[in-house]
């Protein structure tokens, strides 16, 4: 007899002793909060949306007037700042829409593979959103640096006297700091999602391997 069939015969008879729950025990369970990865993913995405909206638009407004004037000077034109903020809102709308749609498509009654795919798709939407913000931060930093050098008269005077080598060094340092900043954030995300989705990724790979 097949080993597994021996277990099957006992399994079918519910031979394994389990503590049986009464309906009184079950009712309170319905009120408990889920701690599934979909829920965690959802909270993380909300935090990310809020964080970047805050960092991109609200934060500069909260800063002191002199600072915003400085930013206006840096960008050379207050209009640029406004365009950046408003385009930020336009970008966030489709992201929220896609995020909502992909959350809606996650269904626990789908087959295992499809469920995993819907979750990974949702994670991808969040990933693109973060990537977009990283690119934006990078570009903004470079533009700000450019305007700071060309429009800030004090700095221009100082740089006029400096050797080309020094200017290149300055540019290189600014570039490295920005790249380092983006890298740290990237690492943080790798770690965060790596831990959260480790099991899911492993199981998904295992299912995909079966199809080869």
């Amino acid at each position: 007899m097949d080993e597994l069939d021996l277990l099957k015969s006992h399994w079918q008879k519910d031979d394994i002793q389990e503590k049986q729950l009464s309906s009184k025990d079950i009712y309170p369970l319905l009120l408990k909060k889920s701690s599934s990865i979909v829920k965690t993913l959802f909270y993380i995405s909300i935090v990310e949306l809020v964080f970047f909206v805050f960092a991109n638009s609200i934060l500069p407004m909260l800063l002191s007037d002199s600072y915003s004037e400085n930013i206006d000077v840096v960008y050379g034109n207050p209009l640029i700042m406004k365009v950046v903020i408003i385009s930020g809102y336009f970008i966030i709308i489709p992201f929220v829409y896609f995020l909502y749609k992909s959350y809606k498509s996650i269904s626990v009654t789908d087959n295992a593979k499809k469920l995993m795919e819907s979750i990974l798709k949702t994670r991808k939407v969040i990933k693109y959103y973060v990537a977009y913000n990283m690119v934006l931060a990078f570009v903004a930093m470079i533009i700000a640096f450019y305007f700071a050098v060309t429009r800030n008269s004090d700095l221009m005077l100082k740089l006029d006297g400096a050797a080309t080598g020094k200017i290149i060094l300055l540019v290189a340092i600014a570039f490295i700091i920005t790249a380092g900043f983006v890298f740290i954030i990237w690492l943080f995300y790798k770690l965060l999602y790596g831990i959260l989705l480790k099991r899911l990724n492993r199981n998904y790979e295992e299912l995909k391997k079966l199809e080869v």
Partner: protein, 164 residues
């Protein structure tokens, strides 16, 4: 209406709770984790219940939600790390058919199943529940042929674990 829905659900779950217990048995190895997973599966079942149309059996629907929760949605709780592991699983074998070697064999077999990975456990679970390969393939989202091939590999793997 809501009360009625809740009442029906609890009644069905109470009657079919062994399915959930069995999933928990396979995927956890201590009491706290078992209870945690049981709770998460119950929540997922309850959340999905309003969409349950009754065109499949409640138990069949439970297999899917239960396994999906165990394989994909469940996050191992922190508190389960330090708690005591299960002793060997207890089988209620009736006195007249009691056979010491058989019980030993069952326990070893059960231990071997525990060493399989999540997907392999899901296959074994559905096999033990006497599901055919069409149902297994539909639950996991793989083809029927691949389900069959994988099941044979799992059986070989179990044999290797049992007779190294």
């Amino acid at each position: 209406m809501n009360k009625e829905l809740e009442h029906n659900f609890v009644e069905l779950l109470e009657k079919n709770q062994n399915i959930v217990h069995k999933v928990c048995r396979l995927y956890t190895n201590n009491y706290d984790a078992h209870n945690d997973l049981f709770q998460e599966i119950t929540i997922q079942l309850w959340k999905a219940y309003p969409k349950f149309r009754g065109d499949s059996k409640f138990s069949t629907w439970m297999y899917r939600v239960g396994l999906n929760t165990a394989i994909t949605l469940y996050r191992k709780s922190k508190r389960s790390i330090n708690t005591q592991q299960f002793d060997a699983v207890q089988f209620k074998i009736s006195a007249e058919e009691y056979d010491d070697t058989e019980e030993q064999q069952l326990k070893l077999l059960y231990k071997a199943v525990h060493q399989l990975n999540d997907i392999e456990k899901a296959l074994v679970f559905l096999y033990l529940e006497d599901k055919n390969y069409r149902e297994i393939s539909e639950t996991l989202g793989i083809s029927e042929v691949n389900a069959r091939v994988k099941m044979n590999r799992v059986k070989t793997k179990l044999r290797t674990i049992l007779n190294p």
